[in-house]
Structures are given as structure tokens and as C-alpha cells.
């Protein structure tokens, strides 16, 4: 099912430069509508290639887009996401910085104030804490404080969440922290299609976007259709995707947990529970209407996230559902999150600190058996 909608680019009142006008023409010419269905996904693409191609295309389309961060240039990217860009666009547009997150995030914001479109890479989002003053105070709040005079078309991207065995200071998930701030848009792609579409939408967006990738997903391959490979492919910000339809329980997830949720749904299907898996894609703005519509259909909800449980994304989803669809709930909302501890190093402890597929399966079963035992469907 392709739920891809072409996103209209909001030009606002900005004077379009000649480049942007021709860009608009290119985009208008290559509009493809989602009503067409494609017989089979012919190509596979890793998330890394998806991000790289999205950056490449956006940089070639708009000379104001530039990439800045540690090791993005000559090292070809700490995780090779910006591979080849230095050779193609030169050192003025792929800027290797010294190790100064606060400094270069601020420089990016200052450049964005003036109409450039920086893509600032944090080696991991843990390092964004050094720059969080600029992400929140000078990027997120500026359009409001200046009453719309100064918009900040910047993208902060990088890997988020736990990798494998990297320890407590490199494993935190920041979705909840950034998702709490008005003025930011927070995106968390899962598949290559998400990565491409959302990164392109983020770069074209006139507001600050925090783009939370996942290191373990970089190497994973996903099938992509020809539409996804088109250079004007964009996904709407603020719309979740229903990855798998179901009718017994809703499972919401983002980033790597979507893969786990899908596998859990397979296991649940064998036991007669049909799970609906929602890929949130956008943490802020949260697509509450899709989530609520799904819960009204299935009456049970399991939220899955990798981050810390208190004040997490799942907590917000639960509150939203309780506020809007309370009468439809047949069971308490189950919330699966990472363990409420800094990430341990030992492999077995780390496995216990991050949600696993069995946890999701168990939670879904708990949600289903809380009330009248579910009769096995035919």
C-alpha cells in the first residue's frame, strides 16, 4: 500500500529566487500522484544510500543547501552518509568542522537566519546536548520571538538511540526531549522510503527540523518503488504510516522499533491476534488523528519506543488516546520503552535494557487478554 502524498511546498511570502522558481517548475513537472499502484518494488536500497541520495539531490537542486558537521567531508561521513558529496560539491558546501557542536550548530542557525539551508550533522544525537541551546533557543524559538520575521530552515540530523555496545553516553534516544519543544519538527524515519522522503521534506521545510536516524538501520535494505527514486519525492511531515493493517490491537512505533513491531505482528498473527502497526514517522507534530482512528478501530494500544519511559513518546500517545478515545479503549494502554537506566555495556544487559520482539508480543497479548478473553478468530 502506497500512502504517499505529494507534499506541496509552502512558499509563504518569501521572494523566490530564480533558482527556486526553476526548482518549482521542475517539481511541478514531475508530480506523480499516489493513485497509481506499482506492481512490484523492483529495487532494494539501504537507508544509508537513501539518505545519501536525498542529500545529493537536494544539494544539486538548490545551491543554498550545504552540509556541515564533523567528518562529513574528507572522511566521507562518520557513518558514510555523506559519501561522495565532498568530491561533487566542494569544501564550501560540505564543511568539515572542528569539534565544536555548540559553535557550529549556532553557525548553522545564523546562516539559516539569512536564508541559507544548512544540514547540520551531529555524529550522534548525544552530542547534540552540547548544542541544545542553539537547537531550542536560537532555532526553535526564533520564528516566534521575531513574530515571523526570521525563519530558520535548518535540519539537524544524525543517528539517535542505542547502537550496539556503545555504552551509556552514546545510546540515549532524544525523540521525547526534542518532541516536547514547540517550534521544532521532529522526524524519525524507518525504511529507505521514509528516509528519502522525510529528509527531502525536511530540507525543503522552512522550519527547524530534528531528523532522528538510527545507526543500526543504516545498513538495512528496503524495497523501493520507482516513485520513491524520483528526485521530487517527498513525504508529508506530520503524517504517520500504517505499515500493517490489523483489527485486534494497535502497535505504534518509530525508527528501529517499527521493524521489531512488524516482526512481533507476524508472531501475533500466528496466535490469532491481528496487530495494526503504525510507523509514526513524525514525532512532532504527532499524527494523533491516525493513532486515534486506529485505536477506535482496534480498541487496544501498545506503544513501543527505545527511549526512557518517563515523559516519553509513549506517555504522550497514551495521554492523547485517553483524552480523545477513552470510551473506545477495552484495555489499559501498554507502554513499552527502554529500561529506566543508563544503557549498560555488557551485551546481555544491553539486550535487557532495550525492548525486544518478545516484549512487544507479550505486551500485545496482555492488552488483548485484559478484558474478555479474546476468542480465537477463525
Amino acid at each position: 500500500m502506497l500512502g504517499i502524498v505529494r507534499r506541496r511546498i509552502a512558499r509563504g511570502g518569501v521572494n523566490a529566487s530564480i533558482v527556486e522558481q526553476s526548482l518549482q517548475k521542475i517539481r511541478n513537472q514531475s508530480l506523480i500522484y499516489a493513485s497509481r499502484s506499482y506492481s512490484s518494488a523492483s529495487k532494494e536500497m539501504t537507508v544509508r544510500d537513501a539518505l545519501n541520495s536525498a542529500l545529493d539531490e537536494e544539494m544539486s537542486a538548490d545551491p543554498k543547501v550545504f552540509v556541515m558537521g564533523e567528518e562529513v567531508g574528507e572522511y566521507q561521513g562518520a557513518y558514510k552518509i555523506t559519501k561522495g558529496l565532498l568530491d561533487k560539491y566542494g569544501p564550501e558546501r560540505v564543511v568539515d568542522t572542528p569539534i565544536t557542536e555548540a559553535g557550529f550548530a549556532g553557525i548553522g542557525v545564523g546562516a539559516a537566519y539569512h536564508g541559507l539551508r544548512p544540514v547540520v550533522e551531529f555524529m550522534t544525537f548525544n552530542f547534540s546536548m552540547q548544542a541544545i541551546d542553539h537547537i531550542i533557543n536560537s532555532a526553535a524559538k526564533s520564528n516566534y520571538m521575531s513574530a515571523g520575521q526570521i525563519s530558520v530552515p535548518i535540519v539537524f540530523r544524525g543517528p539517535n538511540g542505542a547502537a550496539a555496545g556503545v555504552g551509556a553516553q552514546h545510546s540515549q534516544c532524544y525523540a521525547a526531549w526534542f518532541g516536547a519543544c514547540p517550534g521544532l519538527k521532529v522526524l524519525a524515519p524507518y525504511s529507505s522510503e521514509d528516509a528519502r522522503g522525510l529528509l527531502k521534506a525536511a530540507i525543503r521545510d522552512p522550519d527547524p527540523v530534528v531528523f532522528l536516524e538510527n545507526e543500526l538501520l543504516y545498513g538495512e535494505s528496503f524495497p523501493v518503488s520507482a516513485e520513491v527514486l524520483d528526485s521530487s519525492f517527498c513525504l508529508p511531515i506530520g503524517k504517520a504510516k500504517i505499515e500493517r493493517e490489523g483489527k485486534d490491537v494497535t502497535i505504534t512505533a518509530f525508527s528501529k522499533m517499527v521493524g521489531y513491531a512488524l516482526k512481533a505482528a507476524e508472531i501475533l498473527a500466528k496466535e490469532g491476534i491481528s496487530a495494526e502497526v503504525i510507523n509514526l514517522r513524525s514525532i512532532r507534530p504527532l499524527d494523533r488523528s491516525t493513532i486515534n482512528a486506529s485505536v477506535r478501530k482496534t480498541n487496544r494500544l501498545v506503544t513501543v519506543e527505545e527511549g526512557f519511559p518517563q515523559h516519553g513518546v509513549g506517555a504522550e500517545i497514551c495521554a492523547s488516546v485517553v483524552e480523545e478515545s477513552f470510551e473506545y479503549l477495552d484495555a489499559p494502554v501498554e507502554r513499552i520503552a527502554g529500561a529506566d537506566v543508563p544503557m549498560p555495556y555488557a551485551a546481555n544487559l544491553e539486550r535487557m535494557a532495550v525492548p525486544q520482539i518478545e516484549d512487544i508480543v507479550r505486551a500485545a497479548k496482555r492488552a488483548c487478554y485484559r478484558s474478555v478473553p479474546l476468542a480465537a478468530t477463525a
Partner: protein, 436 residues
């Protein structure tokens, strides 16, 4: 260390407070063999400091400004008074700007105590020479980035007094429609990029604006883009990591920026000397390969000379400059600060060096303007400020719907409503409470 400490606060050992300032008189002891602190004029190259430079010994002497620039100044085009630093028009412009700054800030204090202004208000009294000296040399496209003490920077850059006053009153006619406040003055039209409450926050933003200028010239091929950015910040900020990060990157990439330190010796109640291992801030520039200059920030003409050189340097693409202006704020840190820690004698000393009276004296003694002309300016400014207050008073408060506006440039960032359409397209969107 204490010996050096007292030396620094004491008046400079010269007659700057008494007689005229014609440049043919040696104002300061010329710096002997001082490659670093001397301002590289266009013919000199930048020399980097050696580890055993004579500077180490200099800590025990008083701070001196760069006299070479002033002495070497060629005669201006003012044919009547070839030795003066400014023409009559320039002098009147500077005077008017400083009077506007002073009157405006005094009015702010009055309004605050009457309850019309609220929250945090930080006044600039005493530091007007820095603002007038630097900002009046800029073009409209050049940018200014400031801190929370930003009213006068905005005024000098050209933001109308009534817009700033309304903003302070929190009215919808303010320069940020009442949404920013005293500490967040933004004006896209005049390229005032804020107004930041966190110290050090504006420096990377200014560096980014300078980066844009260079990017435009080199990548976007707008060949004549030579916009300069000025970053204003205080002595306390010079201990902050972001300051050093940006000195490094600005020097590394040769960005067209001037870092202006308004060293008023106090960060709320923390004396600069208690907070800083080496209180001579201009020295921190050469550590990064940037020329560092110290100038008397109570003298608008000296500031202007140094500013001219720094801004021209940046415009030519020679990179950043660090300018330390020794100045003083006559009032407390903010209107809520009881200002108990500062010595009365220190305050009196600097009050005697009021930049406005100094400029007035200079202009009258050098026959650039008469007392009467200056009085006319003062009266005009009084009227401007009064009119600004009336305008602000009579302006409306922001409407309810303004609460949710401008969070995003693209308002669809508020997401998708229950009916499947974008929330911002719902006509009731900004009516109720913030249910986003």
C-alpha cells in the same frame, strides 16, 4: 595580581578627561614593539605572538589603547579642520544617536517603575559610545547580533524608537509584535538578528551570518556581497566556550565578522577580575590568529576609528577582529539589580567620562557645532522618545489568536487534525486554548 587589578580600574594616566582630543597630541604611550596589540593597518601584516613576548611583563602596567591608528590618521576631507577625526555631519549623527540611546533608556527606567514595562530590562546607559561608534559605520545589509542589552543596538541600526518601545510594552505594534520582549529584538528589515538572553548564544549566530556572507560571495557567486556582521557581547561571555569556538572558526574560515567586547567590568555582581584568569580580553584574539585591539569605549571617536579599520578589514576579506571596548554601565545589570557591589568611586570615575558629555565638549571646542545646535538635537530626541511612549501606550495588546501564530514558518507544522486536514486550515485554529 592585586597590583595589576587596581591599575586596570584606575583612570588611564593621561589627560583624556580634561583637554581636547586633537590627534596631533600623543594620547597614549605608543606601544613599543607591540606587534600583537597594534592594530594592523592596511600595510602591516599580522604577526603572531611568540611565547616569551614582552606582553608577559605588561600585565603590571595599565591598559593602553592603540595610539598608532589615531596618530597615523591622515587628514580627513574636512578642509576647515584637517586634524579632526570627524566632520560636522558625522559628529551630529553620532551625537544624536547617543542622545537617543540615553534618553530612550532613561525613559525605559521610568516606564518600568510605572509598571508599563515588565520582566527583565537591561539598560545600556554609559555604553552608548560603543553602539554609536560601531553601528553608524554599517550599511543596512550588514548585520548586528547582540545580547539582552540590545535596545540601543537596535536603535542605532535603524529600528524606529516607537517600534522598540511598543515591543517593550508588549504591544502588537512592536518590532516583534510583542512576542519577543526586551531581550529579543529582531528586525529583518534592519538586519538586527537579536537579542539573545543566553550569553554567548549570539556569537555563533553572528558567525553564521558572516559565514552566509562568504558563502554568498563564493558559492552563490554574488560577487559584490561584502556584508559584515558585528557581534556584541560582554566581558562575562569571554569566559564561555562558545566564544572561543567561534574565534577559532571565524579565523579558520576568515569570516567577515568583528567581535566587539563591551567590557563593562561587571557581569551582574561578578567582577571581571574575579572571574577571569587573564582579564585582558584583547589578548585572546592572537591566540587564534586574530588581531586583538583594546580601545577606550567611553570615547566615541576612538571607538569609531578602530571600528572603521576592523570593518574595512572584514569587508576586504581579511578575516575577523576582536575589539575590546573598555566601557561602563551607569545603571545596574538590570532594573531589578540593586547594584550594591560596585564601588561608588568607580562609578564616579566613569561618570566623569560620560561619552555624551565628552563628545559634546569635543564638538564645541573644535567649533564643529554650537551648544544651541546640540540643544536642538536633544529637544528633538526628547520629542521622539515621548512620541514613542505615546504610540506604545495607545497601541493595542496582541489579540488572542496571536498566541499560536508564528510558531512555524510553515504552519502545517501543527500537524493533522482529527478530520484529516491540516490543523492550521481549520478556521477555529487560533481561537481557543492551545490544543495543539
Amino acid at each position: 595580581m592585586s597590583a595589576a587589578a587596581t591599575k586596570i580600574i584606575q583612570p588611564l594616566p593621561l589627560n583624556s578627561t580634561t583637554t581636547n582630543r586633537s590627534p596631533h597630541k600623543a594620547l597614549f604611550n605608543p606601544l613599543k614593539a607591540t606587534p600583537i596589540s597594534s592594530f594592523p593597518a592596511s600595510t602591516r601584516k599580522l604577526r603572531l605572538t611568540k611565547p616569551n613576548s614582552p606582553h608577559a611583563r605588561r600585565r603590571s602596567t595599565s591598559i593602553f589603547a592603540v595610539s598608532d591608528v589615531v596618530q597615523e590618521k591622515k587628514p580627513t576631507s574636512n578642509t576647515f579642520f584637517p586634524n579632526l577625526l570627524i566632520t560636522k555631519e558625522e559628529g551630529l549623527e553620532l551625537y544624536e544617536d547617543m542622545i537617543l540611546g540615553r534618553s530612550f533608556e532613561d525613559m525605559c527606567a521610568q516606564m518600568y517603575y510605572r509598571g508599563k514595562m515588565f520582566g527583565f530590562v537591561h539598560l545600556y546607559n554609559g555604553q552608548e559610545a560603543v553602539s554609536a561608534g560601531f553601528i553608524k559605520l554599517l550599511k543596512n545589509e550588514d548585520c548586528v547580533v547582540s545580547t539582552y542589552r540590545d535596545h540601543v543596538h537596535a536603535l542605532s541600526k535603524g529600528v524606529p524608537a516607537r517600534a522598540v518601545m511598543s515591543e517593550l510594552f508588549g504591544k502588537t505594534t512592536g518590532c516583534c509584535r510583542g512576542q519577543g520582549g526586551s531581550m529579543h529584538m529582531f528586525s529583518k528589515e534592519h538586519n538586527v538578528l537579536g537579542g539573545f538572553a543566553f550569553i554567548g548564544e549570539g556569537i555563533p549566530v553572528a558567525t553564521g551570518a558572516a559565514f552566509t556572507s562568504k558563502y554568498r560571495r563564493e558559492v552563490l557567486k554574488e560577487g559584490d556581497c561584502d556584508h559584515v556582521t558585528l557581534a556584541f557581547f560582554g566581558d562575562g561571555t569571554c569566559n564561555n566556550g562558545q566564544f572561543f569556538e567561534c574565534l577559532n572558526m571565524a579565523a579558520l574560515w576568515k569570516l567577515p565578522i568583528v567581535f566587539v567586547v563591551e567590557n563593562n567590568l561587571w557581569a551582574i555582581g561578578m567582577s571581571h577580575l574575579r572571574a577571569t584568569s587573564d582579564p585582558e580580553i584583547w589578548k585572546k584574539g592572537p591566540a587564534f590568529g586574530i588581531p586583538g585591539v583594546h580601545v577606550d569605549g567611553m570615547d566615541v571617536l576612538k571607538v569609531r576609528e578602530v571600528a572603521k579599520e576592523a570593518i574595512t578589514r572584514a569587508r576586504r576579506g581579511e578575516g575577523p577582529t576582536l575589539v575590546e571596548c573598555e566601557t561602563y554601565r551607569f545603571r545596574g545589570h538590570s532594573l531589578a539589580d540593586p547594584d550594591e557591589l560596585r564601588d561608588a568611586s568607580e562609578k564616579a570615575h566613569y561618570a566623569a567620562r560620560d561619552p555624551i558629555t565628552a563628545l559634546k565638549k569635543y564638538m564645541v571646542e573644535n567649533n564643529l557645532a554650537s551648544e544651541a545646535e546640540l540643544k536642538v538635537i536633544e529637544k528633538k530626541i526628547d520629542e521622539v522618545v515621548e512620541e514613542a511612549v505615546e504610540f506604545a501606550d495607545s497601541s493595542p495588546l496582541p489579540g488572542r489568536s496571536q498566541l499560536l501564530e508564528n510558531v512555524f514558518a510553515d504552519p502545517r507544522g501543527f500537524g493533522i487534525g482529527p478530520d484529516g486536514k491540516y490543523r492550521c486550515e481549520d478556521p477555529k485554529f487560533t481561537e481557543g486554548t492551545a490544543h495543539v
